[in-house]
C-alpha cells in the first residue's frame, strides 16, 4: 500500500524538483504517445526538443518566441504571488497589440526615434487598460477575477477581429483581414544582425530583472507577498490591499500589453488576427512551472518556446498535428500539480500509524469570498 504522509513543513528541495519531475513525466508520456501513434519515439523527441535549436537560426527563433511568453509570465508571477488569479494575459496581450497597432498606423508616415516609444507605450497602456477593468471590478464590486479576465479574453479577441476586418484593415490589402505594414520607425530594431531577434527580448530580460528587484528588494514587493500569503495579516499591518491589487494587476497587464505590441512591431510588422498562438495561456503554465521566481520563469519560458517550435517541427517532418504543443502544455501543468503534492507530503510504502497534530491544509488556498 502506498500512502501519503504529511511532512509537517514544506520541502524546499521538492519545490524545485517538482517542475523537473513534471517535465520528465511529460517527456515519458510523450514517448509512450509516439509509440502508440507508430512514430519512432526517439526520433520524435529529437525532432521536438533538439532539431528546432540545432543551429544559430533556431536559437534566434527561440528568443523571438520566448520574449512574449516571458513578458506575460513575469507579470503573472507578481499577481499570482498576491493570490490574484489573472487568467487574462492573453486578452491583455491582444489589447496591447491592438492599441500599439492603432498608434503605429496613425504614425505610419512619421519618422524619427520618438515613434517607437510612443507605439510601445500605447501597447503597454492597452494591456493596463484591459487589466485595469478587471482590477476595478475586483476591488470595487468584488467580482471574481478568474471569470472576468477569461470573459475579457474572448471580448478582446472579438474586438481585435472587428478591428482587422473593419477600421484598421489595409484599404489596399485586397480585402484581407490585415492592417497596412507599419512604417520603419515603428518597428523594433533587430538586436542581432541577420536574425529576427529583436529588441523585445532585451525588454523582456529587463522586465525579469526589474520584477526580481521589485519582489525581492522592495517594500512594495514584500507587501504583495504578504498579501498573498495572508490577506488578514496584510490588512492588520496596514498594507493598502486595494492599492496593491491595482498595482499588481496593472503591472501584469502592462507587461502582457508590451508582449502584444512587441509582437506586432517585432516579428509580425502589422496587425493580423493571429497575433498570439495562446502565449497568454502558456504564460500561466510558465509562471507555475517557474515557481513564480524570475529565474525559474526564464527557464520555463525557454522550454515553452521550444515546445511551440517543436510542435511546428513535428508537424512539418513527422506529420503530427500542431495541437501537440497544447497537449504537452496541459500535461506539463497536470504533472506539475500532481508532483507538487510531494512538497507537503512524502510517499510511504507500508504506512505506519503517524500522529498528526497540525491541521493539514498546506496547499489549500482561498478562492472566493
Amino acid at each position: 500500500m502506498i500512502k501519503l504522509e504529511p511532512r509537517g513543513e514544506r520541502s524546499a528541495t521538492m519545490a524545485y524538483l517538482s517542475p523537473v519531475l513534471a517535465a520528465l513525466l511529460t517527456m515519458l508520456t510523450g514517448l509512450l504517445l509516439f509509440t502508440l501513434l507508430n512514430v519512432d519515439p526517439v526520433e520524435a523527441l529529437i525532432t521536438i526538443l533538439y532539431v528546432p535549436i540545432s543551429d544559430t537560426h533556431g536559437i534566434a527563433e527561440l528568443c523571438v518566441k520566448t520574449a512574449p511568453i516571458l513578458l506575460c509570465a513575469i507579470g503573472l508571477s507578481v499577481v499570482f504571488k498576491a493570490k490574484i488569479w489573472n487568467i487574462g494575459a492573453e486578452g491583455q496581450l491582444l489589447m496591447g497589440g491592438l492599441f500599439g497597432s492603432y498608434i503605429a498606423l496613425q504614425l505610419i508616415e512619421a519618422e524619427g526615434f520618438w515613434v517607437l516609444p510612443i507605439v510601445l507605450i500605447a501597447g503597454i497602456l492597452g494591456g493596463m487598460f484591459w487589466a485595469g477593468i478587471a482590477a476595478i471590478l475586483k476591488v470595487r464590486f468584488h467580482t471574481n477575477e478568474i471569470l472576468t479576465t477569461i470573459m475579457m479574453n474572448y471580448i478582446a479577441l472579438n474586438i481585435l477581429l472587428w478591428a482587422v476586418h473593419g477600421p484598421l484593415k489595409d484599404p489596399e490589402g485586397f480585402n484581407f483581414p490585415e492592417s497596412a505594414l507599419f512604417g520603419d520607425s515603428a518597428l523594433l530594431p533587430v538586436l542581432i544582425e541577420g536574425t529576427r531577434v529583436h529588441f523585445g527580448m532585451a525588454l523582456a530580460l529587463l522586465a525579469v530583472v526589474a520584477v526580481w528587484v521589485l519582489m525581492s528588494r522592495s517594500f512594495y514587493g514584500f507587501q504583495i507577498k504578504v498579501m498573498g500569503m495572508d490577506a488578514g495579516a496584510a490588512r492588520l499591518s496596514g498594507f493598502k490591499e486595494k492599492r496593491l491589487t491595482y498595482f499588481a494587476l496593472l503591472l501584469s497587464g502592462g507587461l502582457a500589453g508590451l508582449a502584444g505590441v512587441g509582437e506586432v512591431t517585432g516579428p509580425i510588422g502589422q496587425l493580423i488576427p493571429q497575433i498570439s498562438p495562446g502565449y497568454g495561456y502558456a504564460a500561466i503554465i510558465v509562471a507555475f512551472l517557474g515557481r513564480l521566481h524570475p529565474l525559474g520563469i526564464l527557464l520555463a519560458s525557454l522550454l515553452m518556446a521550444l515546445l511551440y517550435m517543436g510542435g511546428e517541427m513535428a508537424q512539418i517532418s513527422l506529420g503530427l498535428p500542431l495541437a501537440l504543443t497544447g497537449l504537452f502544455q496541459g500535461m506539463l501543468l497536470f504533472y506539475l500539480l500532481a508532483c507538487d503534492v510531494l512538497i507537503s507530503f512524502r510517499i510511504r510504502l507500508n504506512p505506519r500509524k503517524v500522529k498528526t497534530s497540525a491541521p493539514l491544509t498546506p496547499l489549500a488556498s482561498e478562492t472566493r469570498g
Partner: protein
C-alpha cells in the same frame, strides 16, 4: 416584428441555451458538494470531439452521445484524483483540465476538422408543435433539448427534495461536520464531480452532434466558462440556472434578431454580447458581498483532508 421571427428567435434561444443549461446543471451539483471545477471548458471540448469521432466512424448518434459523456467523466476523474487524493488546489487543477482538454481535443480531432455528419433531427410532437409562438420553442426541438428539460427537473428535485440531495448540500456547506456525523464526504464529492463531467461531456456532444454538426478546434468558445458564471448568476439555484441559460442563449443569438430587424452591426462586435453580459451579471451579483457569501456553498473550493 412578425410572429415568425419571434417564433424563430424563441426556438433558437432554447437551442442555444441548451448546452449552457446542461453544463451549468452539472457544475451546479458539483459546486453544491463544495468542489469548484474550472475544467468545464476542457471537458466539453473532449465530449465534443469524442462524440463527433464516434458518430462519424460508427454512424450512431446514440453511441456518440454516450461516449461523449464517458469522455467527460474520464476527464473529471483526472480532476477528482488530483484534487481529492493529492489535495491539489482546485482552481489550478481546473485550469489545467481546461488547458489539457483544449490541447488533447485539438490533437485527436485534427484529422476530423470540417468532416460532415448527419446531425440530430428535431422531433415534432403532434398538435403541441403547432401551437403558436411557443410550439416550436418547447415542442419542436431535438431529443437532447427535451432531455435537458428532464435533467433540469431531476436536478431541481434532487437538490431541493431528496435525501441524497441533502447529503450533497451538507457536504458542500461543512464537510467536517458532515464527516463527523458519518456522511460519506469523499464519495459524495466524487459522485458530484463525475456528474459534472458527464454533463459537460453531454453538452460538448450536443455542440458537435446537434447544434453545429461538425468538429472545429475550440468550438465550445467559452461556453464552459459562461456556465461557471451562470451558476454564480443563479445563486446556486437550479430554477435560476434554467432561466439564466436561456437568457444567455438569447444573448448569443442577438445577431439573428438584429438581422431580422434590418440592422447591420459587425458580427464580431455582436459576438461579444454573451461575454459582456456575463461580466455585467457577475458585477451586479457580486457587488453585494454579504449576499454572495451567504448563497455560495460554504466550503466551495476548499479541499477536505480528514480521512482514515
Amino acid at each position: 416584428m412578425d410572429i415568425d421571427l419571434i417564433t424563430n428567435i424563441l426556438y433558437a434561444m432554447i437551442r442555444t441555451g441548451t448546452p449552457l443549461l446542461i453544463v451549468a446543471l452539472g457544475e451546479l451539483v458539483c459546486e453544491k458538494s463544495g468542489v469548484l471545477n474550472l475544467g468545464q471548458e476542457g471537458m466539453m471540448l473532449m465530449g465534443a470531439v469524442v462524440g463527433f469521432i464516434v458518430t462519424l466512424l460508427s454512424g450512431s448518434l446514440l453511441l456518440g452521445f454516450i461516449l461523449a459523456m464517458v469522455a467527460g467523466v474520464l476527464m473529471s476523474l483526472i480532476f477528482g484524483l488530483i484534487t481529492m487524493e493529492l489535495s491539489a488546489n482546485q482552481v489550478a487543477t481546473g485550469l489545467a483540465l481546461t488547458i489539457f482538454g483544449t490541447g488533447l481535443s485539438a490533437f485527436i480531432g485534427s484529422e476530423f476538422v470540417g468532416k460532415p455528419i448527419e446531425g440530430l433531427d428535431p422531433v415534432f410532437i403532434p398538435v403541441l408543435t403547432d401551437l403558436p409562438i411557443i410550439g416550436r420553442m418547447l415542442f419542436g426541438q431535438d431529443l437532447i433539448v427535451y432531455l435537458s428539460f428532464i435533467l433540469f427537473g431531476a436536478v431541481y428535485w434532487f437538490i431541493n427534495h431528496s435525501r441524497p440531495g441533502l447529503v450533497l448540500k451538507a457536504v458542500g456547506e461543512n464537510p467536517h461536520a458532515a464527516n463527523a456525523i458519518g456522511l460519506p464526504v469523499f464519495k459524495t464529492r466524487y459522485l458530484a464531480i463525475i456528474f459534472g463531467g458527464a454533463m459537460a461531456g453531454l453538452a460538448g456532444g450536443y455542440l458537435s452532434l446537434a447544434y453545429t454538426p461538425l468538429w472545429a478546434e475550440n468550438m465550445s468558445a467559452g461556453r464552459g466558462w459562461i456556465a461557471l458564471a451562470l451558476v454564480v448568476f443563479a445563486s446556486w439555484k437550479a430554477e435560476r440556472v434554467l432561466l439564466g441559460a436561456w437568457l444567455f442563449g438569447l444573448a448569443s443569438i442577438l445577431h439573428l434578431v438584429f438581422q431580422g430587424l434590418g440592422f447591420a452591426v459587425s458580427p464580431n462586435l455582436l459576438a461579444i454580447l454573451p461575454y459582456l453580459a456575463t461580466v455585467v451579471v457577475l458585477v451586479i451579483l457580486s457587488s453585494n458581498q454579504t449576499r454572495s457569501r451567504l448563497v455560495a456553498p460554504m466550503s466551495l473550493g476548499n479541499p477536505f483532508h480528514a480521512r482514515g
